[in-house]
């Protein structure tokens, strides 16, 4: 039975899809339309009671939370494809450390900006300019810390590409693309080089090709 990933059009599911492509694991996708509220259907809530994307099915295992799911696949398939967790327990700890930085410091402001700038209009909601500005300021401070980190190490967890870098790709694509905030990346030399590197991986080109974003 092939792995199924729900909601490929959106950003968070792309973390899982990127991971599967890097590991060379076959999968299918199932579209879920958030604007139509398909994530609130009783059938969907049975799989994912919080109603958010992605949901991933691997045989009789149903998983949600993209970061948990990508960690699971990276571990399950650790002997094939790209090494995404490092080679030692210590390297894996650094990968986990920087995935958590993405989750707790990077994601909240960039998610808020994504929602306000890209999705609020589609939902008929007014843009909260104050929230956008506050989030942009927070994100800028995080990117300053990344600039320092990436001046000392090629990737976030060390000198190897890992889930920590991968976790940033989908939302950063929104930032430099449809949100029109490319300057936030380009104005930071090491962040810019890092972004050029990770976003030019074949897995990302393939992801965008098979799962085009909703805008």
């Amino acid at each position: 039975m092939v792995v199924k990933v729900y909601g490929p059009a959106y950003a968070s599911p792309k973390r899982v899809i990127l991971c599967l492509i890097e590991k060379g694991v076959e999968f299918e996708t199932v579209n879920v339309d958030l604007l139509k509220g398909e994530n609130r259907d009783p059938e969907f809530l049975k799989m994912q009671p919080f109603g958010s994307l992605p949901v991933t099915q691997d045989g009789d295992l149903t998983l949600f939370e993209s970061r948990a799911t990508m960690r699971y696949f990276a571990e399950k398939y650790k002997s094939q494809g790209t090494d995404l967790l490092g080679k030692t327990l210590e390297e894996k700890a650094l990968v986990d450390n920087w995935i958590d930085v993405e989750a707790t410091s990077f994601n909240p402001p960039i998610y808020a900006m994504t929602f306000q700038i890209l999705f609020a209009p589609a939902l008929g909601l007014p843009k909260d300019e104050k929230a956008i500005q506050e989030s942009e300021e927070k994100l800028a401070k995080v990117l300053d810390i990344y600039e320092e980190r990436l001046s000392k190490s090629k990737y976030l967890a060390g000198d190897f590409f890992s889930l920590a870098d991968l976790s940033h790709i989908p939302f950063t694509q929104y930032l430099v693309g449809p949100m029109g905030k490319e300057h936030m990346v380009k104005s930071r030399k090491h962040v810019s080089a890092w972004w050029d590197d990770i976003s030019s991986r074949p897995s990302w080109a393939k992801t965008l090709q098979i799962c085009p974003p909703p805008m």
């Binding site: 009671p49 919080f50 295992l61 998983l63 949600f64 939370e65 970061r67 948990a68 799911t69 960690r71 699971y72 571990e75 399950k76 327990l89 210590e90 894996k92 700890a93 650094l94 986990d96 450390n97 995935i99 958590d100 930085v101 989750a103 707790t104 410091s105 909240p108 810390i145 320092e148 980190r149």
Partner: protein, 220 residues
């Protein structure tokens, strides 16, 4: 060389790691960080965690921050001793532990943390708890707890019928939450209440909770 955890016993995130260390019976040293003097924002500390937050773990030449990542490392490094927090021998169970660890981080924490902040930290800055922020987050927390109530009616703990790191992650913030006038959110939901009573009475946590005296008057 023993592990060194930089932090303070009464801090929620430090307590998260302390609980894990106790469950794993790992030897460690707690190195105090003087938050009131701003030690965590000084260059020496920022060199360990550029985000200027506690805790930080040093294990030989490995330096880690982010309490959940530190806890996951401790649980894996010491997987053969103490209580099995990550179900490492059963990939399906291990996967569910990962899911509910993220649920704590992405769903539970963002709702409960502002409430704890308003009741415990705001007063230190001379502010009264902001009712609007509290109420907004109580509503969010209530919805999350409704889902937990449903889940815990089908399994004893979050990831299955076994206590795991996913349950442990909830302890420290919930401990302070239960000291606020809003503890009814937990107590009014029978399965959540039973789960809370179970996980908070584990000896490893009872030990850590004895140091969690934030906001209490010092008794001389």
């Amino acid at each position: 060389m023993a592990l060194k955890l930089h932090g303070v016993a009464m801090s929620t995130c430090t307590a998260r790691v302390l609980t894990c260390l106790h469950e794993k019976e790992a030897e460690f040293e707690l190195v105090p960080v003087d938050l009131f003097a701003g030690e965590h924002k000084q260059p020496a500390f920022l060199a360990k965690n550029p985000f200027g937050q506690i805790p930080v773990l040093e294990d030989g030449d490995l330096t880690l921050f982010e309490s959940r990542a530190i806890s996951a490392y401790v649980a894996e490094k010491f997987k053969e001793t103490g209580y099995d927090l990550i179900r490492h021998q059963n990939p399906k169970e291990a996967a569910q532990v990962k899911v509910w660890m993220e649920v704590e981080s992405q769903q539970y924490h963002p709702a409960i943390s502002p409430i704890v902040y308003q009741f415990f930290v705001a007063p230190l800055h001379g502010k009264t708890p902001d009712e609007a922020i509290i109420n907004e987050n109580l509503e969010k927390l209530g919805k999350v707890l409704d889902i937990y109530e449903e889940k815990l009616s089908g399994s004893k703990y979050l990831a299955g019928d076994f206590y795991s790191l996913a349950d442990l992650f909830h302890l420290s913030y919930t401990y302070y939450f239960m000291k606020t006038p809003r503890a009814n959110l937990i107590n009014d939901r029978p399965h959540v209440k039973a789960w809370w009573e179970d996980i908070s009475s584990r000896p490893a946590f009872v030990e850590v909770a004895s140091g969690m005296n934030f906001g209490e008057e010092k008794k001389d």
